[in-house]
Symmetry: C2
Subunit: 247 residues, 2 copies
């Protein structure tokens, strides 16, 4: 049994709590959070001095706050990990043994996620802790990988492209359809298929469209249609980027 | 029974052929294509003069070629439609009765698609033809919508954002992972979830990440990591666009 104290009960914290509570070899013994949650059966505290002993302390709070928070923990030489894709392991206080437990996924409060398919990226200062984090990862996911902080930072940049930036393109499409009194739902099968296609094809193989086939006439027409849109420049930049990428 | 002559047997043509052949109220009576296909049971021709009579002639060839091709058809006053999202109905020759039968989806030769969920956008010069195209659409899809050429052009721009541009972001992420000897597959659950999320949330509600939360520190770090990348500018433009869009 691996015992866990969960530090932070926001979006990521709640998802981790749910999946770890359900895992038979993991026991979340305590949850620390600034505000108390009524529905939680696990013992809670709002006082760092009241933290109990555990195999792993998992910090699930905003990136900017991790450093200072880890510095404020009132114990030493215990395994303390954070769950961020973008923050280096070094941001954690050296008072404790440092590690990373990063689930590579986008979480939202209302949608349930299946952790078994989510890659868990782990890292630790020493080998025994790394093995423990791998074991913990195996309890909730089928895909646990050791990734260094510097590689994880790059993975996080790539994640921003496929998640935040892609979602922004969805937003632009929704704006264009709304402005023209068209139903955004018309585009949803296309969105689904675009994501599904790269299960079997590389994105380079899957690429189609005016930029790919250097169809200047269509590109010009689209730029004209976007004349009064704040997204015209982005259409141009993305088109150029496809043309220059040799996909 | 609606009889069809299919003009063009490329990517879209083959998908349309398969779904129409399987539909019980549609009969593809002839396929015209420059090269003969060995496996096709339906009568084929490479000679426009040999085209037989049908209720609907469906042109499925590249946008640029539609106009000239439709002009070369050796008959008049029959219903001739094209299947393009980006081309106006007017590109079709006025020798015949014009219409549009546009399946809003991305097609690739190797992946099978379920037409029942694909929106079919129809348009016609006269009401009787419009009703016929709607009926034809109903035979293969649960979602048939009447959309004017000018609205369809805008829908097509939106489709470029969610399909071609989104796929390009996948390509960028694959490039970043490859350059850093990371496995692109690690990002696939994130790609799937990003697309799935907007089934229940609007893209604006679903947005997260450094640009959305105005996290300058992470943005600066990412730009530094992309210092030698040709995708650095695009990261910057997309970040600005999210900041300015008020998502």
């Amino acid at each position: 049994m691996i015992t866990i104290v969960l530090l932070g009960y926001g979006n990521v914290g709640q998802h981790l709590y749910n999946v770890m509570e359900a895992a038979k070899d993991v026991d979340v013994v305590q949850v620390y959070n600034r505000t108390k949650h009524k529905t939680l059966k696990t013992p809670q505290t709002q006082d760092l001095k009241a933290l109990v002993s555990a195999d792993v302390y998992i910090i699930a709070i905003p990136d900017d706050a991790i450093g200072e928070f880890s510095e404020s923990l009132p114990f030493k030489n215990r395994l303390v990990v954070h769950t961020s894709g973008g923050a280096h392991m070094d941001v954690l206080s050296s008072n404790n043994l440092r590690g990373i437990f990063y689930p590579l996924q986008t979480f939202s409060k209302i949608t349930k996620v299946d952790f078994s398919t989510i890659p868990i990226c782990v890292e630790a200062e020493n080998e025994a802790d790394l093995q423990l984090l791998k074991k913990l990862g195996d309890c909730i996911s089928e895909k646990v990988v050791e990734i260094s902080s510097s590689a994880r930072e790059k993975l996080h940049v790539a994640a921003v492209f496929v998640n935040n930036f892609t979602n922004h393109l969805y937003h632009i499409a929704e704006t264009i359809t709304a402005e023209n009194k068209l139903d955004f739902n018309l585009l949803k099968p296309l969105i689904t298929e675009t994501a599904r296609k790269i299960e079997t094809l590389s994105p380079a193989q899957a690429q189609t469209g005016p930029a790919k086939r250097n169809d200047k006439k269509t590109i010009e027409k689209h730029l004209k249609l976007l004349e009064n849109s704040k997204y015209r420049d982005l259409y141009e930049h993305l088109t150029e980027s496809i043309e220059n990428s040799g996909e």
